[in-house]
């Protein structure tokens, strides 16, 4: 089985979110970057588990500049067999998805894995665009997945519960919590990652029709108003008269 895992580089969860150049660019100063947690903990690890059980190979793909290599090497250290970096700025989900679909189409991929969303742009867009560009079924928000022969049985999160579906390979899946357990790369993995192939390819030009022009940071909350625990009538009054939410 050829398993393609789309990985994205995102600011670390606790990073300070600030902007520069007239609020048009994310301020990278002092920001630590990580592999997007949904890509790393769930999509990548489940792909590696399937390879370990059924054979095949896991290919990690990233769209971004050379500074992303550190995150790609981590994917190799965790257990991906090889990696592709498409050398372009990820300016839109359409741009990223086109590059991934181009690679997947010409490399006989059985399953394309993505995280359910990135923790920076929260779009959930790339996987569904890849699926459409490849004319493949797309199973989103997968929290469990078993593969038997050519068929996968997948449990996915929907509003207020779960849905169990069956689908034949090839398909695209987006990974949510539960699909796998995080793996920490060990020293052997880190050493081996240095020798695994990381191929850099040039992107195809894409007409990105939605791009970010500027950012705003919402005003911070007012100082919290502490309420006497013996006077819940006062809290109810404030929720009704001041906050107007009940």
């Amino acid at each position: 089985m050829n398993l393609l895992v789309c990985i994205s580089k995102t600011p670390e969860t606790t990073a300070k979110i600030a902007f520069t150049d007239g609020d048009s660019k994310f301020n990278e100063e002092g920001v630590q970057y990580i592999m997007n947690p949904y890509d790393e903990w769930y999509a990548l690890v489940r792909a590696i588990e399937l390879k370990e059980k059924h054979g095949g190979k896991v290919i990690a793909i990233n769209v971004g500049p050379a500074s992303n290599d550190i995150v790609i090497r981590k994917a190799l250290a965790i257990g991906a067999d090889e990696a592709i970096r498409v050398n372009g700025e990820a300016v839109s989900s359409m741009f990223v998805a086109k590059q991934i679909a181009n690679y997947a189409k010409s490399n006989d991929i059985d399953i394309v894995f993505c995280g359910k969303e990135t923790i920076d742009y929260n779009g959930s867009e790339v996987a569904s665009i890849v699926a459409e560009l490849m004319d493949l079924p797309f199973i989103s928000y997968a929290s469990k997945m078993m593969v038997e022969g050519s068929t996968a049985t997948i449990e996915r999160d929907i509003e207020g519960g779960v849905e169990v579906v069956k689908v034949d390979k090839p398909f695209v899946i987006s990974a949510a919590k539960g699909l796998a357990e995080q793996r920490i790369p060990n020293m052997k993995g880190i050493m081996m990652a240095k020798r695994k192939p990381l191929t850099v390819v040039e992107p195809e030009a894409v007409d990105s029709k939605s791009t970010i022009g500027s950012y705003t940071v919402p005003q911070g909350k007012q100082e919290v108003k502490m309420i006497d625990p013996e006077n819940m009538e006062e809290l109810v009054r404030l929720l009704h008269e001041e906050a107007k939410v009940i």
């Binding site: 929260n122 989103s140 919590k177 022009g213 809290l235």
Partner: protein
Amino acid sequence: MSVLIFAEAKKGEYKKNAQEAVYYGAKLASQVGTEAIVFTIGDGSNANELGSFGASKIWFNNNSASTDSQVVSALIAQAASKAEATHVILSNTALGKSIAGRIAVKMDASLVSGANALPEGSSVTKGVFSGKAVAKYNLSGDKHVISVMGNSLQPEATGAAGIPEEISLDAPASRVTVVESKTVDGVVPLPEAELVVSAGRGMKGPENWGIIEDLAKVLGATTACSRPVADTGWRPHHEHVGQTGVAIRPNLYIAAGISGAIQHLAGVNSSKTIVVINKDPEAPFFKAADYGVLGDLFDIVPKLTAALEKFKAQ
């Protein structure tokens, strides 16, 4: 020219997210000087009410009951073509997220998922960095797909109900088989809940959740929980709000016994009003709260429930 709104039916009914999408689409249509057409999949029953949120036409098609993204997106794209739509509007639900990108590809359109306000000219805003910032997206081209984040607008039913008409479309065969669907009925799903009561490890065990359910009941709120609570199985997984769970933006979020780790805040910090009940004065959640109550939740939550009962009885 038109704005086409996809209204998602859940078991033949239209929840608030569908009403909100229709209202958003109708406002947008009047902004750009065109008509708002609702499209829904099913037999069209109950769809007449959607007219009151500002749609001039309601179309339905009943060729397929599938919720497969390939089938649903194909039907919507055909309806959009029939409507000569410049915009397709949908809800940012589980289904919406699985089809928005597909529709944008089919229509060669711009795409913004999770918009939090109406477009202004050729730009539209949405929350990014898990609610810590808002990004303004510039849209180019002549077709646009926008999914609307729940609780972004308050839908108002001011117009008259419409008469649904059936349109003929070709539904492709689905390659996905639904084996079973396990959902909780009779509860407002978290992403569209206006009032949410949530609790964490401070509850000490699942057997103590009665006081949270009582508070939720008197408010008409949906219950939620923090990650450790879902991980230990005290509460079902679908109740988990936070970075790895569901992201919500209710009008009121009451958190009892949740310290407020940054990963939890990432899923709830877009809530309009946050009330935090905690016995630890150092709990980081107090910094993100509008109202705080310092003390034992087992004492405070029942008192709050009683105060709300008194308020509701007035």
